[in-house]
Amino acid sequence: MSEQQQVWTRVCRVDEIPRLGARRVQRAQGPQVALFRTADDAVYALLDRCPHRAGPLSQGIVFGAAVACPLHNWTIELASGCARGPDEGTTPRFAVRVEGGEVALLQSELDTVAIDVEPVRAGPCGPALGSTWSSPLPPSARGE
C-alpha cells in the first residue's frame, strides 16, 4: 500500500458519539459511514446500510459489539460487518483509529469503499407501484 493511501482523516472525538449509540459520517461521495461506540468505548465503522434492505444501521440499537438494524431487526456484528445467523449478508467495514480520544478513518477507504451504491428510494420518487399494477391507471383514476 502506498504512503498516500495510509492517510488517516480525523472525524470526531470519541465522546461525540453517544455510548451504545452511533453517529453518521458524510463523505465526499457515496452513502454515509456509521460510527458506533460500545459500552467500553470501542469504536467501529461500517457502511451505514444493512445488507438486508439497506436500513441505516446508525439508527439501530447498539448492544455488546453488535447493532440491531432499525428496519427489520437484523443483527450486524460491528467488528466484521456480518449479519448474525441465520440471516446472511455482510456490510463493508472501515478501519478505525482512536488516538488520544480522537477518531480517524482511512481517507483511501472513505474515497473508494462502496461509493457507487444506489441509494434506497421510497415514495413518489421511488420505484413504480408494486407489481400488482402492471398497466397505468386510466386518466380518470389519475385525477386528470
Binding site: Q59, L110, G123
Partner: protein
Amino acid sequence: MKKSRLVLIGNGMAGVRTLEELLKIAPGLYDITVFGAEPHPNYNRILLSPVLAGEQTIDEIVLNPLSWYADNGITLHLGKTVTEIDRRRRRVVAADGTVAEYDRLLIATGSNPFMLPVPGRELEGVIAYRDIADTEAMIDAATRYRHAVIVGGGLLGLEAANGLMLRGMQVSVVHLAGWLMERQLDDQAGALLRQSLEARGLKFLLGAQTEALIPDKDGRVMAVRFKDGREIPADLVVMAAGIRPNTALAESAGLLCERGVKVSDTLQSVTDPRVYAVGECAAHRGVAYGLVAPLFEQAKVCATHLAQFGIGRYEGSQVSTKLKVTGIDLFSAGDFMGGEDTEEIVMSDPFGGVYKKLVIRDDRLVGACLYGDTVDGGWYFKLLREGRKIADIRDKLMFGESNIGDTGHQGQSRAAAMADSDEVCGCNGVSKGAICKAIKDKGLFTLEEVRRHTKASASCGSCTGLVEQLIMSTAGGDYSSAPRKKALCGCTDLSHQEVRDAIFKEHLTSLPAVYATLAWASPDGCATCRPALNYYLLSSWPKEAQDDPQARFINERSHANIQKDGTYSVIPRMWGGETNASELRRIADVVDKYKIPTVKVTGGQRIDLLGVKKEDLPAVWAEIGMPSGHAYAKALRTVKTCVGSEWCRMGTQDSTHMGKALERALWRMYAPHKVKLAVSGCPRNCAESGIKDVGIIGVDSGWELYIAGNGGIKTEVAQFLCKVKTADEVLEVSGAFLQLYRKEGWYLERTCHYVGRVGMDHVKRRVLDDAEGRRALWAELQFALDGEPDPWFDFDRAKVDLRQFNALEAAR
C-alpha cells in the same frame, strides 16, 4: 489439562440433539465418543413412515451425516452395541470389545418394541417396526408377499399399515381395543379414522385377541389365529403393540430404573450423578416420553448441565399427537376423553369427515380431539398449556383462532392442500415451497427455528397453525411444544412478569441495577430487552427511574417514524382530529420549504408528512409549531372523534369535546404498546370506537365505555366495560384502565392481548368494583404524566440528543 470425556450410548435423535445443544454452548469442552447399535448415522426416526410409504428416501431423513461427526471431532462407533457399563472404572464396553472411558456418560438407548408373548413370535416374517432395518425388511417383503397383518391399531401400527398398503400389500390391522388409536382419539374420531382408512383399502379387526402365529412348512409365518378361532392369512406380521424403554444395560449397571432410567430435573440418574439419560429410555417424574418435542426439551436442559452452566431444569412436558398418514389430519392433546367433571363442545360432520371435540373443566380447556381439520390444533394446545380462562372466547372457541379475527391468511385451513407457490405468511411473503425447502435443507425442527430462518409466522403469528402443519408434514412429529414460561430474551431466563415484579419489589430504577440484581447474561442487554426494561423502569417508578434514550427504538429517540429509505415521517398532534386554517397553512409552507414528497391523511384523523430528512426534523417541528403527535411511539397515539352533537343532526353527545379532553389528559403517555382511542357521539359509531384500546360511544343518557378492541392483525371487537353519566367519569375510568395496563402489561402487548391474558373480570374488579382503587390508579397516571416534556420542543428534559440530526464531516 486433559479434556473431559463424554460417552453417548445411543446414536439417535435425543442423544445427538443433546450433543448438538452442547456443542452450541460449549464447543470443545469434551472429547466425545458415540456408540450406535445401528450401522447408520443419526436419522429422523419419525420419518420412517414416509420412507415406508415411498414418499421419502432414507438419505433424505438423515439428520447428521457422517461428516458432521468428523467436523465436530466426535469418535463414532457405528454398529457396535454397548454391553457393559463399568461405573467404578468409568468405562463402557461394546460387544466387539471396544472400550471407551468416560467422565460423563449419556444414556440415550431409546426403547424396544413390545413383542406380543404369543406362540410363533420368533417365526420368519414376524418383525417389529422400529428402525431402518425393519423398514427395509417391510419394503422387501412388500415386493415378494401379499398378505400383511399389523398387530396394533395405534399411531405406529396405522402408519405401517398405510405404508405397506401403498406398496401393494393387502393389509389387515388387528387391534385389541374397541376403536383405533384409543390413547389419542375418542370413539367418534376413531370411527371416522377407520372409515377413511377403510375407504383406502385397509381392513380392520377390532377387539380381536391374537392367540398364535401359524408357520408354514418352511418356518415362515402364514397365518394369524385369534382367541375366537378365526384365522387370517399373513405372510408378514408387524408387531406395533407399543414400546418399552430400553433399560437393560442401565439396570445391569445398577442404575435405578422405574419405567425408564430414573432421572432428576437435571436429567441426571438418581443413582449416579455422572450418568445422564435423555429420551425414551429416561423416566422423568415417572413419565417416559415417546414424542420428539419433550425429548428436545430434555436435550436442551441436559446440555446446559453437561456444559457445566448448571442452569435450567426440565419440569416435564404436555404432549399432543398427530398422525403421519398423508391426507389424514388428526390431532389430540390433554384429557380428550373428558369425564364427569368436564363439559364438552362438539362439532360433528361425519359426511364431511370433520369432527372436533373440546373438553373444558373449570372454565379452562383441558383436552382437544380434532379430526379432518387440525389447523387450530396448535392454538388449542397453547390454550391448554397456558391454562387460561376461556369464558370470554367460549362462543368462538370451536371455530378456531382465525375466526377470532386474523387478517391476511386467506382463510386457509389445510397446509397439505396448498400449492408450493401459495403464500403461507402474508406479513413476510413466505410461500409454502420456501418453508418446506428451508425445513429440509437446513434440518429445522421447531417452530422457533422455522421462524428464525424463514420469518414465516414471525410477525403477526396468524399463520402459525399452517406453519406447524408444514413442519409436521415435512420434518415429522409435533414440534410445536414450547415452554409455558417464555424468557424475556436470550439475556435472561426470567419472564416479562418476573422482571416486572422484581423491578417493583427490589425498587430498581436504572438499567445497570436491573442487570446486576437479576444477573443478566449480557453486560448491556440486547435490542429486545433494553426497550422493555426501560419501559418497565419508567412505568414502575415515574419521576424516579432514569430514562435511557439509547434503550429506546430509533423512533422514540428521534421522535419521528423511520421509513424504508431512512427518511422519517412527521405527524403533528391535532387534538381530537380537529385543525384550522393557520395550522394547515403552516403545514403547507413546511411541505414546500423542505420539499416533503408525500402528505397523507391517516386513519387516526391526522396529517402525515412522509419523507422528511433526518437533518430537517428539528426545523420541521419548530416551523409547524404543533405538539408532537407521538405517532412513532409506544404511547397514546390519537383520539379519533366524530363531529358529534355540535354539528351532526343525529348526535346525542359532544364527542369532539370529549375526545379533546381525553387527548389533552393522556398525551405523552408511554405504554407497553401503542394506544388508540375513539369517541363517537351516538351509536352509529362513526369514529369506529369498537376497534380501539378504549372506545367511547355517546348515548342519550351518557357514555358507554368499551376496551381492548383492536383494528390490526387481530381484528378484535372491543368489550363493553361500563356505562357512565358524566365526562369526568369517562376520564377517570379510561385513565384508570390505561394505568392498570401500563402497570401490568408486558412490553409490546396490546390491550387486547393484555385483557385476554388477565381476563376481563380482573379489569372490572380493579377499575369498576373498587372505587378507591380506581381513583388511585387515575391519580397515579396523572402524577406520572404531570409536567412531562414535549420532545419536539423541550429537548433537554425529553433527553433528545440533538447531535443525532447532524452528520459528521470527514475533515480533509
